[in-house]
């Protein structure tokens, strides 16, 4: 989808400000949101692409007015509701009531993430890479053009490369295709490449003659140039 999350190339957001000695989290609710997202992901009712898609459903003005963990919280609530874990109305009610967590009120179900399961969850060595013997459509050095597609669903081809010409820098191998995976339509294994786009090709005279942007793109996003 062409959402406000697709920020590459936008003006008007002000300077980049690096906070010195920044802590990992800035508030306890950020810690808990982070951990709740990972723990609930452990139920494997949704995949990573669905998680990203969920965050992209946040209303645009709200997305831009809030930070990272608010996006995570919004996306988690959206997924919990859609997968029947928790209705937002129930959460609204509990939040208004302000009741303190009753942590010991239930034993974790079998299948819930336990402390001893955390190292295994985080040592994950497989995310989106696949072993399927899919041949690549391109090889390093090939000239390509990024397709001009504008799907309403989740996609990982940013607007700023669509219709632009680049060249294959390297082939990363076979991966899950996010557009179908986010929609529950399968993994559609295919190659991912780093594609080099000259800054001038992407931005015209406003780009620097020497510079380039490398974007990871799937076979389905590319045509021969």
């Amino acid at each position: 989808m062409n959402g406000v999350h697709d920020l590459g190339g936008m003006h008007g957001f002000g300077p980049v400000v690096i906070e010195p000695d920044e802590p990992v989290f800035h508030a306890e609710w950020e810690r808990r949101t982070f951990a709740l997202t990972l723990a609930m992901g452990g139920w494997r009712r949704w995949n990573l692409d669905m998680s990203r898609h969920a965050r992209e459903q946040m209303p645009p003005a709200e997305y831009l007015a809030t930070g990272y963990y608010e996006h995570w919280l919004w996306g988690l609530e959206w997924l919990l509701e859609r997968h029947g874990f928790l209705a937002r109305a129930d959460l609204d009610r509990r939040a208004r009531g302000g009741a303190a967590p009753e942590r010991d009120s239930a034993s974790p179900l079998a299948g819930a993430l336990r402390p001893e399961g955390v190292p295994r969850l985080l040592r994950n060595r497989r995310a989106a890479r696949l072993d399927d013997p899919v041949p690549p459509k391109f090889k390093a050095g090939d000239a390509v053009v990024a397709r001009n597609v504008n799907p309403a669903g989740h996609t990982r081809i940013p607007r700023y490369v669509r219709g632009r010409r680049g060249s294959i820098d390297r082939d990363h191998g076979v991966f899950i295709f996010p557009d179908t995976h986010a929609a529950g339509l399968g993994r559609k294994p295919q190659h991912v490449y780093s594609v080099r786009f000259a800054a001038r090709e992407l931005w015209g005279p406003d780009g620097h003659a020497r510079d380039a942007v490398y974007v990871d793109l799937w076979d389905d996003y590319l045509d021969p140039a």
């Binding site: 965050r55 510079d211 990871d216």
Partner: protein, 228 residues
């Protein structure tokens, strides 16, 4: 902060871009201020999911502790220092980052497939994720606010030299800037240039010089000494 369970005495302030900031002693916002909407909401969410048996709060604590105390940019700094002193390691790191990092134990969630890119006197690399905030957790920990925020995500691809200038890195016109937009599941780590004047330092001493920002590409590594 009042520790990992200290929900009650927190508050945050937000800057004009809506980002959270750590608690301060700003007298306008006393530490016993009522809980904000988002604090109440996350507490409610955790309590409901816990009551349903879907999450174990102890597992949440373990997840948080991992990224607050165990996994962070010191991992990446050790890799960089090793690459500076060991040419064979550096060759393998650039050639097959995933396997080479896995040998050191720096593998896992949001770092399953790694690419290391080398800064030289001719090429400066910069990493961004314009679509969300992808970041190599096993070597750098969780991303800082500026990396996740709109200004960086918007401008890193369009005006990388302007961004770098803003954060104190002035690049000559004849250096090529390469921006890596992490749109897929590859995660990028920049191998910064080893600063001159560090010939006598040990690998451990070198690792101490390497900053998170240098491994994202928005800073140079500086030699120790009076200019630091």
């Amino acid at each position: 902060m009042t520790g990992p369970r200290g929900h009650d005495h927190e508050h945050e302030r937000r800057d004009e871009h809506g980002h959270s900031h750590p608690p301060t002693d700003d007298p306008a916002h006393p530490h016993n201020a009522p809980l904000s909407d988002v604090q109440l909401r996350v507490r409610a969410l955790e309590s409901l999911l816990t009551e349903k048996g879907l999450v174990d709060p102890a597992a949440l604590d373990e997840l948080i502790d991992t990224y607050e105390t165990k996994v962070g940019p010191r991992n990446g700094a050790r890799v960089v220092a090793k690459a500076w002193v060991d040419p064979e390691f550096k060759r393998r790191l650039l050639d097959d980052a995933t396997a080479t990092l896995a040998d050191l134990g720096y593998i896992g969630r949001q770092g399953e497939d790694m690419v290391v890119i080398e800064n030289t006197s001719r090429v400066h690399n910069l990493v961004v994720c314009t679509l969300c905030s992808c970041y190599p957790w096993p070597v750098l920990g969780l991303p800082p606010v500026w990396y996740k925020s709109a200004p960086y995500r918007a401008r890193a691809v369009l005006d990388p030299r302007g961004v770098l200038r803003e954060v104190g890195v002035d690049l000559p016109d004849d250096v090529e800037v390469r921006v890596w937009d992490s749109t897929a599941e590859l995660r990028y780590l920049v191998l910064p240039e080893r600063p001159p004047g560090t010939e006598g330092l040990t690998e451990e001493q070198l690792a101490e010089l390497v900053t998170r920002d240098a491994m994202i590409g928005v800073a140079r590594v500086k030699a120790p000494g009076p200019t630091r």
